[in-house]
């Protein structure tokens, strides 16, 4: 098995797809860094370099809305929590909007979880079986004295490995690149987490503070988990479809459909069983409201796990029984 994993790893590396992924990151992250820098500059000009004034202004804005009748009660609860957070930053003299490498990375990862990272994962996952079939090397691979499920298993293990590496590489590169502009600090910057939204109520009892490094770590873990599910699904499509392009397009279409549905899901509650709606695991960390009422981190993890396991079962079943006709 180790030898098979060794083989598959070599194939992924030598095929240079992985380097293309890194290259994409290296090219795109500076673009976002530049945009972030512009935002920071703007707000600094607006508030005369004084972040305290900006925060105070924000608190005042929120407090005004609390008085309004037109705003639903649950929103007001959220606002109250936000005011508490901002007040905390003021009291402890930390600037929440001060850009630094860690903050940038955290925001970037939050935004990358539903489309960007899945796309990178798919670049490898969609190719790993279908390319062997379209180039005909599958004949060489399967005529060895090795059972088919072992070959597929080695491919899956390598895929899990590279999913993790891609998530880490994204985080690391965005930290390194943005840090060059904003500075490499911010590891211990306090963040609030543990928001518990059930129904329309916001439970604030469990809200607690967390240093940024821990938050980032948890974020990466959750993103890896949703990446694995995307990987399992593209793996399955890669087994079912001979062409790499076709399998990327299939999965991409599903993911984009998911991101469109995400905003419409509130009026279609059963959509919460679709995997695409559950990919945004990091939003539970940040405490933003889920697309469908009643969705929790645990629920999303289970839905994703079920999808992933079924996809893998289908992939293994088909691959071991399939006639390799061409």
């Amino acid at each position: 098995m180790l030898a098979l994993i060794h083989n598959e790893t070599l194939k992924v590396l030598k095929k240079k797809r992985f380097y293309v992924i890194l290259l994409i990151l290296v090219v795109l992250i500076p673009v976002f860094t530049y945009a972030q820098m512009k935002i920071a500059q703007n707000s600094r000009e607006k508030f005369d370099q004084d972040w305290r004034r900006e925060i105070t202004q924000q608190i005042a804005d929120y407090q005004n809305t609390l008085g309004s009748d037109r705003i639903p009660e649950e929103w007001k609860t959220m606002r109250r929590i936000m005011i508490q957070q901002l007040q905390y930053y003021l009291d402890h003299d930390v600037n929440p909007n001060e850009p630094n490498g860690v903050t940038f990375t955290r925001t970037f990862m939050d935004n990358a979880v539903t489309l960007f990272i899945p796309l990178l994962i798919m670049a490898i996952a969609s190719d790993i079986v279908s390319s062997e079939r379209s180039t005909g090397t599958i004949k060489m691979l399967l005529t060895r004295p090795v059972r088919r499920w072992k070959i597929l298993m080695s491919k899956w293990i390598v895929l899990m490995l590279f999913s993790g590496i891609i998530v880490l590489a994204t985080a690391l590169l965005s930290y390194l690149i943005s840090g060059a502009v904003f500075g490499y600090g911010g590891w211990s910057f306090p963040l609030f987490s543990g928001f518990n939204l059930s129904g329309s109520d916001v439970h604030v009892e469990s809200v607690h503070m967390m240093p940024s490094w821990l938050y980032l770590l948890m974020q990466c873990g959750l993103i890896w988990f949703s990446s694995l599910v995307v990987a399992a699904l593209s793996f399955m499509v890669s087994v079912l479809v001979r062409s790499t392009a076709a399998s990327i397009v299939t999965l991409m279409a599903v993911l984009i459909a998911g991101s469109i549905l995400y905003n419409m899901a509130s009026s279609w509650p059963t959509a919460k069983y679709l995997f695409m709606i559950n990919l945004n695991l990091t939003s539970y960390l940040a405490g933003s409201p889920p697309p469908v009422e009643g969705m929790t981190l645990g629920f999303s993890l289970i839905v994703l796990a079920v999808w992933g396991v079924i996809a893998l079962l289908i992939a293994f079943r088909v691959f071991t029984k399939q006639d390799m006709l061409n």
Binding site: A3, N7, T135, M140, T143, P145, L325
Partner: protein
């Protein structure tokens, strides 16, 4: 025959019993039974679409038979691929390798999938196929001939007892074909069982000891190659200075049948380079001397007599005459 008595005693390496395969509703393979013994070159002869490749894919576990049994060295190929395929080296259709790896890296990939294959063995097979100079180049820069050699190296890697070659002369130049023939004979002399498929009768005649003829998914005959054409009429081409008179005389001979050019199923390449006014006859080759004498006695100068191997189509026509196949 004494030789076949001798061969019967050799070990059966590959045994195929009542093989059948249905794809969809169509029976691709209806009845295939044969045995290949150690030290012999076994030809698998049939026109394109006869089921050769499907059969070969079943031999190496790429396709599961609908019914029937294939064993290699006593191990069932479908039930026990881990044991049986250890004895098999194969090239199915084209030798497709990972083009992004070097020849050496490709061999390393395959070596890792089989126990007890070390670097020394890779060096050995590289030397056997004479690739030492280019083995560290990327496969995508190889010519077709070099890919074939690498394919053979890959097949030899496991020290097989059964070598399966699917249309091995495809894409080779005449010199390459001759080399390949010598090489295959050498393998058989070392005790390997070699299974060669082809749609060219002449190729099988030159290369093989025994042959199975397959058409429409059925094996029509399994026999020694020498017996293949015994007792069958062959095409004989006569070249004389006075074709008109010769034609008249030949027509009178018993057992000689005149064939109009383009009427017979004769290999067109055999007619290239012949002088004009040749006469094609279909006759038993035992009669050639007698007919020649008759021509000479009538005062005709015979400039050339040429036997032409019938095409596969011709052979099928004769074999199935009245048989109702087709």
């Amino acid at each position: 025959m004494t030789t076949s008595l001798h061969e019967d005693k050799r070990d059966v390496v590959l045994s195929v019993q009542q093989l059948k395969k249905r794809i969809g509703r169509k029976w691709i393979i209806e009845d295939v039974t044969f045995e290949v013994r150690a030290g012999e070159i076994f030809g698998f002869l049939g026109p394109n679409g006869a089921g050769k490749t499907t059969t070969i894919r079943m031999l190496v576990d790429l396709i599961k038979p609908t019914s029937g049994k294939i064993t290699v060295c006593g191990y069932d190929v479908n039930r026990d691929p881990e044991q049986s395929l250890r004895f098999v080296g194969a090239i199915v259709e084209n030798p497709e390798m990972y083009s992004f790896l070097t020849g050496w890296e490709n061999l390393e990939q395959f070596a890792r999938m089989v126990p007890d294959i070390d670097e020394t063995r890779i060096h050995e097979v590289v030397d056997i196929v004479g690739m030492a100079k280019r083995i560290h180049d990327k496969v995508k820069n190889y010519s077709l001939g070099m890919r074939q050699r690498l394919g053979i190296a890959q097949a030899l890697l496991v020290r097989p007892r059964l070598m399966i070659l699917d249309e091995p002369t495809n894409g080779l130049d005449p010199l390459g074909i001759k080399e390949l023939r010598t090489f295959i004979r050498q393998l058989a002399d070392e005790g390997m069982a070699v299974f060669v498929s082809s749609h060219l009768l002449s190729e099988i005649q030159l290369m093989c000891d025994r042959v199975a003829i397959i058409n429409h998914g059925r094996v029509l005959a399994v026999d020694d190659v020498e017996n293949l054409l015994v007792g069958r009429n062959q095409y004989v081409i006569w070249m004389t200075k006075s074709p008109e008179r010769a034609r008249a005389l030949l027509e009178q001979q018993d057992g000689v049948h005149l064939v109009q050019p383009h009427e017979g199923m004769i290999d067109e390449t055999a007619l290239l380079g012949l002088p004009e006014d040749y006469i094609i006859t279909e006759m038993n080759t035992d009669l050639i001397a007698k007919v020649n004498q008759a021509l000479l006695a009538a005062g005709m100068e015979v400039e050339g007599i040429q036997r032409v191997v019938p095409t596969l189509e011709q052979l099928f026509l004769e074999m199935t005459e009245g048989g109702g196949i087709d």
